[in-house]
């Protein structure tokens, strides 16, 4: 038994990604078609050239028909994947195994979400199983808000400094998104604006929360040895790791809301798969799940990019800025790129793919990219109760 990974066994040969945002004039089908068509065009393939499909959506439909119907696929295996906010990454992970196993030559993973048709603020979850009415009713914002005072208290960071740290994360992601034509919010925002925006939950303000957006992303993969048939710039899979936590955090008095053990565990597994011993120096960048600013803060520590209790200092020092030593969310992140749940995991991979292929515009090209590796991190759920994924990608084999 063991987690062996599929390092260097598959490669991404093409991707497509719609702009994320409020697409009042497009449905899930339109977004999915748009992202897929872009990927087909980049790969020089038609939809029938893809042997199998995985489609991820958390709340915009179910079953393989989500993709087979709008793409009018004939006799193709299409699998629907749902794993909360890690849905998009999960779609690609499962497609990767199918290709690595030799079952299919070419596979496609699509992530799509249409969230702006509900008429409500924020995300409205998919229809849920009937319950006894005793479950928690508070929002994701409120759950992550609990991390702020907990982290500050544990590491001796006062409220004002915590506010400054969270504002820097939001500011940084908006700064990056302002340099990305596909982002939902293409505008820099001052920390003053961030700190004066309306309160949502706890001390979290509107600008601490990810953008609620529609969007779709698609990726076409093949076995690594076949990649150059399709592209000169393949992006090789180094690690795809996923775990679902045991959800005990909210029932365990020992859990203190300052760490996400699921992410620490999945990162360790991914580093092991990829043979990485010092992620901070070996990897160029990370796209992480900044659903709320305190999540990004804690993720820095779980990914071993800094010691526990020090991420706040690194944030303020600019380590994770676009021109920093380890850029985080150079595409703008969930905060400013937007968060169509089922698409976000693939969107993060799209930025790794873009940077590794040298296709990011000069104003957004990270200076660390010659390290040759980029990673994504997804989570779905809440502190104490989450699923987590890490993927690592590289431009060279070996």
């Amino acid at each position: 038994m063991g987690s062996h990974g599929i390092k260097d066994q598959i490669a991404i040969i093409a991707m497509g990604c719609t702009p994320f945002g409020e697409h009042w004039d497009k449905g899930a089908d339109d977004l999915l078609i748009e992202a897929s068509n872009e990927a087909y065009a980049v790969a020089g393939l038609g939809k029938d050239d893809v042997d199998a499909y995985w489609v991820g959506t958390a709340m915009s439909g179910s079953s393989g028909l989500v993709a087979s119907k709008p793409l009018h696929l004939d006799n193709k295996p299409v699998t629907h994947v749902q794993n909360m906010c890690a849905t998009g990454g999960e779609a690609l992970r499962n497609a990767s195994y199918a290709v690595a196993s030799g079952a299919y030559d070419v596979a496609m993973a699509i992530g799509v979400e249409k969230v702006k048709d509900s008429g409500y603020q924020g995300l409205v979850g998919a229809s849920r199983a009937p319950t006894d009415g005793t479950e928690r009713t508070l929002t994701a914002a409120a759950m992550y808000a609990m991390c702020v005072p907990a982290y500050g208290k544990k590491y001796g960071v006062d409220d004002a400094t915590m506010r400054e740290v969270l504002a820097h994360i939001s500011w940084k992601n908006h700064f990056n998104g302002a340099r990305n034509h596909r982002a939902q919010f293409k505008k820099e925002v001052t920390t003053e604006t961030i700190c004066n925006s309306p309160l949502m939950a706890g001390t979290l303000r509107v600008f601490d929360c990810s953008g609620v957006a529609d969007g779709a992303t698609a990726a076409i993969i093949c076995r690594a040895e076949d990649a150059h048939k399709y592209t000169d710039k393949p992006v090789y899979g180094k690690a795809v790791s996923f775990i679902a936590g045991n959800a005990s955090g909210n029932a365990d008095p020992n859990y203190d809301y300052t760490y996400f053990p699921e992410i620490g565990a999945v990162a360790a597994d991914a580093y092991q798969q990829a043979g990485i011993t010092n992620p901070r120096e070996q990897i160029a960048m990370a796209e992480v799940h900044d659903c709320f600013t305190p999540a990004e803060l804690i993720i820095m520590e779980e990914l071993q990019l800094c010691e526990r209790g020090t991420a706040w200092k690194e944030v303020l020092a600019g380590t994770f800025d676009l021109d920093g030593d380890f850029p985080i969310n150079p595409d703008g992140g969930l905060k400013s790129f937007g968060h169509p749940v089922g698409a976000s995991g693939l969107r993060k991979i799209f930025e790794c793919y873009t940077q590794l292929r040298g296709e990011a515009p000069p104003e957004r090209t990270i200076k660390t990219i010659d390290r040759g590796l980029a990673m994504t991190q997804d989570l779905g759920g809440y502190p104490g109760e989450m699923v987590a994924m890490v993927s690592i990608w590289g431009r060279e084999l070996g």
Partner: protein, 467 residues
């Protein structure tokens, strides 16, 4: 000897200053305050809270033979409400009954218990309101009361029932059609003429039956929703009138069906041994109940007394009062309203949902809320003991104010609560001002109605600060 073994009352935390009514409306109102059930309370939850207090005062491990529940404002008709109390209190008795939705049903249930057999937990509660600016709105109050009735085989009797009498007459004084939340009232001078002879008759016959004279009464309770008749009645009770007790209407309001239970509890919490208590209720007739306290009352411990609860509480604006009672619609967060709960899921989790029973891993001792099959600590599987947690206090580990979640009265305050002796649950807080909360604060559980959907009420527990 048969009588009262224990009693308890529950007053909701919020108070409406009656002068706020006239400030808002330009009319109505009055002096003093009234209690206000929270938006997440109904007569069933008020009854549960009162019964919890009464059972705390009963002998350890006491289980009644029957549970009777009476209210004017039942959460359900057709379906029995007493079964919810039965589940929340984790009672083992085979009988749980509702008495019909008239104010008199509560005193009637008490009298029936006193003249019957076995032990009976008699619970009454009421939520009183009226049209904005009305006398019923200002004069009413919300409360629950519970009395444990039995004989010495069930526990020490603190007040022996000496006897009583009743009188009944058909006349239209106040009325409410099913489904309405407000009552109509006839011109009050008419009701007074009807009540006074009925009260006088019950008084005379009841004292005779009890074998006591008016001059022997130490505590006189006169109860009724007809304030004018109640005041006039007191004046006609001879030497006993000097012993009339504070009916708490200045601070609590007239709590209707719960008034006899509330005032009797109040008196029992203050009385010494060997004292005679006369309770005269005017409601569609008259009922007199006469008790004499026993020596056991000297050792009768009492927490959460009526007096303490009257002295506690915090102000509520009239606007909130109106919205909580459904007389002022306020826009909530733009979030979907919750779906109705599932009957079958609720039945499967009955012990947890209604009685807040967790599970403790026999090997590691880890306490699970809600109960789990696999332990979170170690490898134990299906090896846990049920642990009732509703009376266990806890400490706020962390908390958050959620301004965007659905709530009938936003914002929601949620706290991660670590319970004494183990167990953690993120739970909604109530009866507090959010800015007064701090990590480390002590909280206790309270039974609430979280929301209703498709006419089905969702009952579960919240936490409130220990005060």
């Amino acid at each position: 000897m048969r009588g009262i073994i224990a009693s308890g009352a529950y007053l909701p935390y919020r108070r409406l200053d009656r002068s706020d009514i006239s400030k808002f409306l330009g009319s109505g109102g009055g002096r003093g305050t009234r209690t206000v059930a929270s938006y997440d309370e109904d007569t069933t939850t008020l009854g549960v809270e009162a019964a919890r207090v009464a059972l705390q005062h009963a002998p350890a491990g006491f289980q009644p033979d029957q549970l009777w529940f009476a209210t004017v404002d039942p959460a359900y008709t057709d379906k029995t409400n007493a079964t919810t109390l039965h589940a929340a209190l984790r009672l083992e008795c085979d009988i749980a009954l509702d008495f019909g939705a008239a104010a008199r049903s509560a005193v009637g249930a008490l009298r029936t218990a006193l003249t019957g057999g076995g032990s009976v937990l008699v619970v009454s509660s009421d939520i009183r309101t009226g049209q904005p600016g009305s006398g019923d709105e200002a004069g009413g109050g919300d409360a629950g009361a519970a009395l444990v009735v039995g004989d010495e085989s069930h526990g020490p009797v603190i007040a022996e029932y000496l006897g009583g009498a009743s009188a009944t007459e058909e006349f239209i004084d106040r009325w409410r059609v099913p489904g309405a939340t407000e009552s109509g009232n006839w011109e009050e001078r008419f009701g007074e003429t009807q009540y006074l002879p009925l009260g006088a008759s019950a008084w005379k016959r009841g004292l005779d039956a009890a074998g006591v004279g008016a001059d022997q009464v130490d505590h006189l309770i006169v109860s009724g929703l007809h304030g004018r008749a109640v005041r006039a009645m007191v004046g006609r009770l001879g030497e006993a009138k000097a012993k009339v007790v504070d009916d708490r209407t200045a601070t609590v309001g007239n709590v209707g069906a719960a008034q006899v239970g509330l005032l009797l509890t109040d008196v029992l919490e203050q009385a010494g041994p060997g004292q005679v208590i006369a309770v005269l209720s005017l409601a569609d007739g008259a009922d007199l109940l006469v008790f004499r306290t026993t020596d056991a009352i000297a050792g009768y411990s009492s927490h959460r007394t009526v007096a303490d609860q009257v002295a506690g509480g915090a102000a509520l604006t009239y606007g909130k009062f109106l919205s909580w009672r459904g007389n002022l619609a306020v826009e909530g967060p733009r979030r979907p309203a919750p779906s109705r709960i599932s009957a079958s899921v609720s039945a499967r989790s009955r012990e947890y949902k209604y009685a807040f029973v967790g599970a403790r891993d026999r090997a590691s001792g880890a306490l699970h809320l809600p109960p789990a099959r696999f332990s979170r600590d170690g490898d134990a599987f299906d090896d846990m003991d049920p642990v009732p947690m509703s009376e266990v206090q806890g400490t706020v580990a962390t908390f958050t104010i959620d301004r965007i979640a659905y709530s009938p009265s936003p914002p929601i305050v949620f706290a991660v609560v670590d319970f004494d002796g183990g167990g953690r649950l993120p739970v909604e807080l109530c009866d507090l001002d959010a800015d007064a909360l701090a990590i480390g604060d002590r909280v206790e559980l309270t039974f609430r109605r979280l929301f209703s959907a498709d006419g089905i009420h969702n009952y579960f527990w919240k936490a409130r600060p220990v005060r």
